[in-house]
Symmetry: C2
Subunit: 366 residues, 2 copies
């Protein structure tokens, strides 16, 4: 009888008082109070309280099942939304089996392994979903800022003939009988695209590091927000750009993710200036605290020295080195790890929480 | 003396008549006419004619070198821009070596192998750069349309424990001693993210196909524009969405890439409706023209049959299959290959022309 109704979203219900609507979503909670039952229906725009009376009361539906409900929107003082739905009919679209854990508690207390093993379920918790909504905004804002600054998006290969940062930390694969590697960074390709005359380029894509670290800060596959720009005057320009980009990203999160920030109890930091270290200061810290000395030399000697130190064969980089024969402008760039930034911003204790399906030394699923 | 000048872009010169400016870019052409020389300087916003008189005339600079020029902008009738620059000083920032081919001819006649082997140079031709500017707009428009339709961007792993479409066409790699594969599609992960409650999701990222085809339509790594949405009523909804997305993408190209379309002599098609085939019609064509029969059955039987046909072990898909236990809404999606769409739209004879650094059965560099 109401089969022609289009789906109404929870956020639209507030404007549909008195109307018959169809809503679809997941059963977050179901409560029975004598001859009346309440379902809290959750979908991507919010939660809606639905009321079952008379014959419909007492219906048994597993939480987290997918249902379709038809009924009338009425005003109420009992919900945050200010309305609720009086159910006329309810249909289970997809019944949920027994859950491995309860996902509808106020706090997520299921442990990282459970959380990652059951992403489809753990993501249903609004606090966890919030992480990925904010992550999406950060990426979106990075892109928007650069497009407005006249950068062009590039797409560079992830299957490469040589790693960008050395032989040890690179995944290798057989490419139709040839040795190939997964890109550790789009570094060389960014530079080639700058030199091709596009000048201001950015890329957002996965990078792969075969690092055996199993720390709370490491992922073996992550999203790198990368840029490179031609005709820079000095590195201060890049530092200034990075400051402005991050400022813009944070502003965008404040604007677009007010609800998510509230849920996660995050107060966004105000960026005035990002702390800076002089190169010699960084050297001192590495030397004194970590007993690691970095060789000195110009921005080319160091490159060649680094090639040799890492056991890389210069011949394999001929395409990259050729670039420098054909008129390359002064250029520079940087990259931000999207998951690390998200994790830092939201105070997550483990970077894996900012990756829907993280890859680490032990984890290859889901 | 003018060391504090900031770089002026070619497109800004029109508003700087009478001013002393600094411009930076590549030497597209250099011509000597007695005691006067002309340099056409090219950078990302256009081309600027620069005039050398007196002592400066006759200067020898290789084309495609990177130069910095300081001088005065004056009006002229001899250039499209309506202005030219009278050079006060010129500095070669990075000298170009001998070029393997001439990149500044009106038409690109260098052959596909040369074009791909020397991307940094071939991309300097404005017709070739135009392909990548249009490609960037197509991606940008896909994203914009979906964001406006309340889709959320997701990031799913490219290193996976099992291919999405079968064992034969998948690249495998050693993942810390485990067998792993490169994702052929984000299909399973898109569905998991839909089921997690995000409902409307999209992803833009590389996919990898170890296909041995060496045709003008195949790439072994390409950018897939992917989406998946929950609570669809039927597949017509997806067909309508795809039509609208592509319409929007084409409109955006018309709006943003007028110059590039003119250069490539492309008239954008007007989309009213995309031709549709009924499933049984497609089956007939496959049967009659290609002698290939597709088994009939429902949207789950076919999945399991397909798993078996492809020699896939159902156990490896447990995480994916688990998804269907925990309340999955009806959903559907589609994907567009960015390079194929770009190539089709621009009438390129080979899809490789729409990939900056294509990967095919023989090509792993640059």
């Amino acid at each position: 009888m109401h089969t022609n109704l289009k789906r109404t979203l929870t956020k639209e219900c507030i404007n549909k008082v008195g109307e018959m609507v169809k809503v679809q979503g997941w059963v977050k909670k179901i409560r029975h109070l004598g001859n009346i039952s309440f379902i809290v229906l959750r979908e991507r725009t919010g939660e809606l309280q639905c009321v079952l009376e008379g014959k419909l009361a007492g219906v048994i539906i597993e939480t987290e099942s997918v249902i379709e409900v038809i009924g009338k929107i009425v005003p109420t003082n009992n919900t945050v939304l200010g309305v609720e739905l009086l159910i006329k009919s309810v249909k289970v679209i997809n019944k949920n089996d027994l859950l491995p854990f309860e996902v509808n508690k106020k706090e997520v207390n299921i442990g990282l392994e459970n959380l990652l093993n059951h992403r489809v379920l753990s993501l249903r918790h609004e606090k966890i979903a919030s992480i990925f909504k904010i992550k999406a905004t950060l990426e979106e804002a990075f892109r928007e800022y650069l497009i407005n600054m006249d950068f062009i998006r590039i797409f560079t290969p992830k299957i490469v003939s040589q790693g960008a940062e050395g032989g040890a930390n690179v995944f290798n694969l057989n490419y139709f009988g040839k040795d190939a590697f997964l890109a550790q960074s789009p570094q060389f390709y960014k530079q080639m695209m700058v030199a091709s005359g596009l000048e201001y380029v950015f890329e957002i894509g996965p990078v792969f590091r075969a690092e055996e670290h199993n720390s709370s800060r490491h992922l073996n596959e992550y999203i790198s927000l990368d840029l490179e720009m031609a005709f820079i005057e000095d590195y201060e320009e890049l530092m200034e750009l990075e400051t402005q980009v991050i400022k813009f990203m944070f502003e965008k999160v404040k604007e677009k993710n007010e609800n998510e920030l509230k849920l996660l109890n995050i107060e966004m930091p105000t960026i005035t200036e990002i702390p800076k270290l002089k190169l010699h200061e960084a050297r001192e810290i590495l030397k004194n605290r970590f007993k690691k000395e970095i060789p000195e030399g110009d921005e080319y000697e160091m490159l060649v020295a680094s090639f040799r130190e890492k056991g890389l064969n210069e011949e394999n980089f001929q395409n990259y080195l050729n670039t420098f024969k054909y008129g390359v402008p002064p250029h520079g760039g940087f990259a931000i790890g999207l998951e690390r930034l998200t994790a830092k911003l939201l105070g997550l204790t483990n970077v894996r929480e900012a990756s829907a399906f993280p890859r680490d030394i032990n984890r290859l699923t889901p």
